[in-house]
Subunit: 624 residues, 2 copies
Amino acid sequence: MTSPNVPDPLVSTDDIRTDAPLADARLFVLPEPLALELGGSLPNVRCCYETWGTLNADASNAILVCHAISGDSHAARHRENDAPGWWDGLIGPGLPIDTDRFFVVCPNVLGGCRGSTGPGDIPDGDIPDGDIPTADIPAADNSATNSDSPDVANPARPYGAEFPRITIGDMVEVQRRLADHLGITKWRAVVGGSLGGHQVLQWVSRYPDSTQTCIAIATSPRLTSQALGFDVIARNAIQTDPHFAGGQYYGTDKRPDTGLAIARMLGHITYLSVAAMEAKFDPDRHDPRQIASQFEQRFSVGSYLAHQGQKFTTRFDANSYVTLSLAMDLFDLGGTRLRLMETFDECSCDFLLVGFSSDWLFPPSQSREIVNALTALDKQVTYAEITTDAGHDAFLIDRDIAMYGPLVRERLADSPSSYKAPVELTSAEESILDLVATGDSVLDLGCGQGELLSAIQQRDADKSGRLMGVEVAQENILATAVRGIHVIDYDLNNGLPAFIDNQFDIVVLNATLQAVKNVVELLDEMLRVGKRVVISFPNFAYRRLREDYVNRGRSPRAPGEFDYDWHNTPNRRFPTIADVHDLLSDMNVTIDREIYWDVTDKKSIAVDDEPNLNADTAVIEMHR
Amino acid sequence: MTSPNVPDPLVSTDDIRTDAPLADARLFVLPEPLALELGGSLPNVRCCYETWGTLNADASNAILVCHAISGDSHAARHRENDAPGWWDGLIGPGLPIDTDRFFVVCPNVLGGCRGSTGPGDIPDGDIPDGDIPTADIPAADNSATNSDSPDVANPARPYGAEFPRITIGDMVEVQRRLADHLGITKWRAVVGGSLGGHQVLQWVSRYPDSTQTCIAIATSPRLTSQALGFDVIARNAIQTDPHFAGGQYYGTDKRPDTGLAIARMLGHITYLSVAAMEAKFDPDRHDPRQIASQFEQRFSVGSYLAHQGQKFTTRFDANSYVTLSLAMDLFDLGGTRLRLMETFDECSCDFLLVGFSSDWLFPPSQSREIVNALTALDKQVTYAEITTDAGHDAFLIDRDIAMYGPLVRERLADSPSSYKAPVELTSAEESILDLVATGDSVLDLGCGQGELLSAIQQRDADKSGRLMGVEVAQENILATAVRGIHVIDYDLNNGLPAFIDNQFDIVVLNATLQAVKNVVELLDEMLRVGKRVVISFPNFAYRRLREDYVNRGRSPRAPGEFDYDWHNTPNRRFPTIADVHDLLSDMNVTIDREIYWDVTDKKSIAVDDEPNLNADTAVIEMHR
């Protein structure tokens, strides 16, 4: 009954995970018990991990990849006929995380059930040296006991719900021991999405010099209260399942599969956007797939949830789910910018953050909170908000990886790839370039494709100051970022709250004034953030425009920024040089320098005589 | 630990419901078995209802109020010391649903557990003639049996899960029998929010002449797939609770309270917006209230969910919850505009729809689907989207009732209250008024506060054609609606997809052209929807503007629409009469009449000589 074009509604993004037998995974056992952040310690901690590529001689090419709540160490294929990995679109030979160049490490998290130590383990159990234990073969198989009361001191049965409360910080500590073991003292990059993003943020906040680059995707400084609420309900469903039995269900034939399935159903809704669900389930709304299930399957979405919920119970351990979701809920880098600034104050790495427009579980506004703190700290940070209908799942979807993958590739480039690509500048941009001294820090608002900043970078090379762009058009953000220029996704009409006073030597607004809604507010903000401010704008009082207007009696136009029909111009402001002078005077701004061009008639000749009549372009440097 | 300004996070909107003893409720028993939409019938159907006010002699003042999933018949207080009702802000003496004027009826829905027949009833049980049975005293109290296998033929035990699958249509049928019983042949209005909105939409689609007015708030033609998914999970939680026992838990000491509580927790998250949850729970994020519960209470939001979930089990029956949520999920008036147009084709009532900006359970886009269908059908419809952070709950919150209440009041006015209020028109509006013949249907795009439409209405009174406004500013929508003019909340930059070809005699765009982004697209749409089109706009080539520009060398301004500073004008287009002529010629538009005014210098004198120079305002009538 489904048309061939309608994807099977039973299939989830998650189905790319095939419960690979972890054939390439290795085990590392911590030599010492692990002291836990919330008190106590764990003995015999085992970390299951996979690697790709080869560590180079000075161990400088290692990248740590951190997985999300239901992920594992199998981030990517190891060879063509290998089982699919969950980030195959990002990790591999020639891909953004290029396994021909990098040594990639992906560990299963502490508390998980895919090889690393978790609630299914026996506290004093032997470390297996053969097969890697996973949720499908719970550690309870090794246990003969089935006692009624939880007793963690009993060495012969698994932790169950007695597994200590762990944190994202504890996961990071295990990964740190693994790095020591592998001979890695500093990562080339730490990379992760969702809960994996929490891990990379925890890495750099706790060990500020531990990595050269931090790439955090679809993540947050802490969960929203809404996301917390969903997690609480999921744990309630698991822990009130009668078969949960206080977490000691291992070795019995009853597991809290009902509760775990309900928790997973809830998760699946939060991973999708409302639009994605509509597209996926509405064509077959009343036509569910027939599957065997104790759960309702009345609607298309019902059979999907039942199928995905049940399937999850065959590969995941309920105690692990409780443990990991609680660790995620306890993660809290701070609810204010000040707290976040304290968190990241000492970081020496550069940052790439990516959010997704339709992600309501980790909304892009939460990535912005981190970006705003990093920006105020003068950290090197790029932020892109990818427009997509895929919701939180977007970070795993090839179509969206194709959008943000180039940003990851660029952040991992040895020398930014396009630095040497020639940049053509306008006359105004040439003037601005001249106003920037070598070493000046420059913030370019509405930076377009980063032409001006790239020209400064090429001119000054490693002597250049901090260069940063702000843009709102996604294609421009991507184009700027792949030039190796840091750029953040931001709408200038909201002011510049991310920036602190006098943060930049120069703040530039180049050929953008005429498109700004809140002109005065933005100029005020620029004068606050920049020691000096440079604006360039087209002059609406230019002779040819006046003539055109008076003679033709039409909304005036002339070559350049005002060469649009009245009804479809992107401009919304029509400033003249005299107007801007008046405004700057009203605003108590000191003008330091003015440069005027007649690009139209004189082919870029500077204008000294009556610029409000004779210049089509103005460049004004000022301060307050 | 909570500051006095932080509301107690345990409190919900729902806490206004106090489980009133239904002291004022009455019972009506259907004289015949009720034939059900999905087959079969129900004998002995009981409807519990409350009324306010007095039915007038010709039974023309009766208003039906329909409740949401967890509501009941106690919509409002009956007297000062009465238990609070769930819509006390809307219903009462002098309130928008004025019980001094109207006879208000609110029945408990079929399938509920607050007095009307539901799964807790015994199929052949006697109709009680004393106290009204409710969930707190489940019908099982009357039953001595506790048999193991469900057997609906057993007359001595409740339906439980054997209660037949019912629909919103079945609820309406019971209400219809109640109306007959009360002697009401036509409602003055049917009013409801959420599931209550589904009932009123079902009323008018099934009985197109049954009411004079249909007021549907925070509702939809059918649930989104996301909302369906949440309902499926809620039912799964209830039905897999071991104490559910196939729905035959009545009379036992074990009820599926765990599953029902989890279902309710889920509901509570969907009723709030992410912003509302942040405001409510973030100040005390890690500081839960201490309550006795089997559920996790680790976070502020956790204690809230545990408290609300548990509380719900003391007043609601799990089988009823399953029955009502499934009825809501099966409700489907159509997923396309064509289907919705078929649904509402025969309706003779006028409509008021209200959506809430942060409602993601019944998103405003779903109200718009209904509005677009009604608009295309030429129905009388007003739609307002209220800007609020309160989420779906907004329809119950006094602050939001204060916003939409006046619209309800106006729809229920005998003669619209402000019809006679004098309206001051501009010269252009006077011209447009002259172009409208008595009886012409008029669509006014960007209608402001409805001045022009109100003037037409006052001039032509009951001879006027269909008058409708479109506005995007909430305060203007409210101001237009309380003049008794139908207006829909719509952004003109999205075109006019709600309207069909040649739907109006005249489509007006008055003093709005200069603020439109997509000028050509909008004009094309107007020419499609209107047999004639009238635009008025300020002329940017007006003499005083040209002089000002040439002489001062500044972005020109003159009294009127162009009297703004260049940097903060709301205008984004600067049309001249000559420009508009050129464009209309390019668009193959026939100009039928042109009227030009010089309001600035000549104090509203019509201009014949060189209007592009001498007129500051143009009115052009055209068609294609």
